[in-house]
């Protein structure tokens, strides 16, 4: 039985993971912004649990970094020592609005990169002396290359990607797993405004299954679904001189 902390627990992908974890008998600590949604989730997970597990919730604005340390302390208090952390919160910025506003751009970078780095740093310091634990972070294929249509989001996810590479390198000696999850297009409330969803779109459940598998197998980097690894390989190989003229 593991003790798992989930940041951004009410996001569609995280929610899919929590249902698998509760079925597998784990204890969960859910962090999110919306108290009502968290309470609905907690009721749902407790009704699903069969082994008398603990499901606790906490509301927090993760853009306020001072909340991060107390959240880990609270989780340790109600669950016992955490051994897995999933960082799943994020926003999908309006790229055009970001171009017009430095403040908005900085705010999006704070949400999608800086707060994640803060949470991952604290998790690393918690796990390192104990020489066990898993830090799983939801990045994005958008972080593999900057594109005109969403480079603020891409830059934030790219920063997280490189940060986690370094962290993985540092923590490998302590046998701690650092997992970077790179989903492609996922049909969630975050992307609900995009009307037509083609063959490249996956459901939050598919992604959740992929995350659970990757966590269980202590993987380093996963693209979900798998074919994004090939798509992004091609996209990364396009020379910049050509790439800059594309409207991707």
């Amino acid at each position: 039985m593991s003790n798992i902390i989930i940041f951004g627990a009410t996001s569609a992908i995280a929610r899919a993971c929590t249902r698998d974890w509760i079925a597998a008998g784990h204890n969960l600590f859910l962090v999110g912004r919306n108290a009502d949604k968290l309470e609905i989730m907690r009721t749902d997970l407790l009704a699903r649990s069969t082994q008398g597990q603990v499901v606790e919730i906490a509301t927090a604005d993760l853009n306020d970094f001072s909340t991060h340390e107390p959240l880990y302390a609270k989780a340790a208090e109600v669950l016992g020592m955490p051994d897995t952390v999933l960082v799943a919160h994020g926003s999908l910025p309006d790229q055009k609005a970001c171009e017009a506003s430095v403040d908005l751009t900085m705010c999006e970078i704070r949400t999608n990169a800086l707060s994640v780095i803060s949470l991952a740093t604290l998790a690393a310091n918690l796990f390192e002396p104990r020489r066990e634990g898993t830090i799983a972070v939801i990045g994005s294929v958008a972080g593999d290359r900057g594109r005109q249509s969403n480079y603020v989001y891409g830059a934030a996810k790219g920063m997280v990607d490189i940060f986690l590479q370094g962290l993985r390198n540092r923590l490998a000696k302590a046998s701690i797993t650092v997992l970077t999850i790179k989903p492609g297009f996922v049909d969630t409330p975050m992307t609900a405004h995009i009307p037509t969803k083609g063959a490249l779109w996956a459901t939050p459940n598919d992604i959740g299954q992929g995350i659970i598998h990757a966590v269980n197998h202590k993987r380093d980097v996963v693209y979900l679904p798998w074919f994004w690894r090939i798509i992004m390989l091609i996209i990364r190989f396009i020379p910049e001189a050509i790439f800059k003229r594309l409207s991707l």
Partner: protein
Amino acid sequence: MRDDIRSWNRLPTVGHRHVLEVRTRNDRLPLPPGDETCIPFGNGRSYGDVCLNPGATVLRTRALDHLIAFDRACGRVTCESGMLLADLLELVVPQGWFPAATPGTRFVTLGGCVANDVHGKNHHDTGSFGNHVRSFELLRSDGQRLTCSAEHNADWFAATIGGLGLTGLITQVTFDLLPVSNPFMITQGYRFATLDEFWRLNACAEREWPYTVAWIDCTRHSGRGILFAGQHAPPQPELPPWKDHHRDVPVDLPFSCINSLSLRVFNEVYYRQKLPRGRHLTHYVPYFYPLDAVKNWNRIYGTRGFYQYQCVLPPQVSADGIADMMRQIAGSGMGSFLAVLKTFGSRPASGMLSFPRPGATLALDFPNLGEKTLRLLNRLDSIVASSGGALYPAKDARMSGAMFRRGFPQWEKMLAFIDPRFSSGFWRRVNEPEG
């Protein structure tokens, strides 16, 4: 206008002005601007336009997929209305429970099960889904929340079960399950050569088995077919292994694969399938949901879609009426791929507009060949109407107002309960003045 909201048979093709998400059960109802109407849209598995609202709004309910309570001791579940039956099954079957009534696909929402008062192969034994609903919460467009049960707000309860989503949004529902010992069924197949033989066989099977359903070959006048009977398996010393296999129809086909030749071949092969001798164990998934094994099976009908046609005929005229319909279909050469015949029991349904009633129900599907198909369906309508039968709104994209009013005499009583901000393509069609 968004044209990506479709029902399962891809007919009619309509545009929606707004597609709104219902985010949590405690929120106010998201409403379109002005006096535009809305209709709840669950997982889009009904056939036709009960879940569509052309030129107006649909409220997507799939985010409401949380469990609220599950009493494992007495088999009572409370869940949100957007939860899929498939999710419920995964949760309750390992705990020794099963839905009391289930339709032929598990990819429907529980809200849809209530709003269409769905039935299953065990109707003669157990009634329809509405018979097992204890209570639900109805959220009206004016913000009012009504807790409805047979005791409280009983008229709202009756108007909403089978009420086609028109009385407001069902946010959560409480219903009872059946106890089972394991996920397996004991099943037996009986081949029959004529409809007369079916009626005799069916009368015996209904006494012995809680689940019965027959497939009939409608490329033939004779009405040959196979009756599949089943019951939940008692405790077994050892259960066979079982794994869910999925196939997919990965692309939209520009044409329908269903034509008179493929129908003849399929029906011949199906009729001649080897039936295991005597009783045998079958997992509940292939028994109840054979078509769920083929993801996107609706694509085999091509982009023009298909019509479902399900009617019920009163007991005293069932045999003649069904024989009449089989003659019409076989004569038209437009036979249905899967024709399903079953008899309903006498348990009264809970809803004003519930479809299940004593008699025999025949379900058919026809590729959309335009006028030709509609003419055949009109001929079938006249048989249903003259027998005093009814068509199933959840599987309809074309019934007339007259046909609806004849089949659902309580429709006028229903009017008082319809939410002023709710409407659907189906509802406007059957209520527009006849021209």
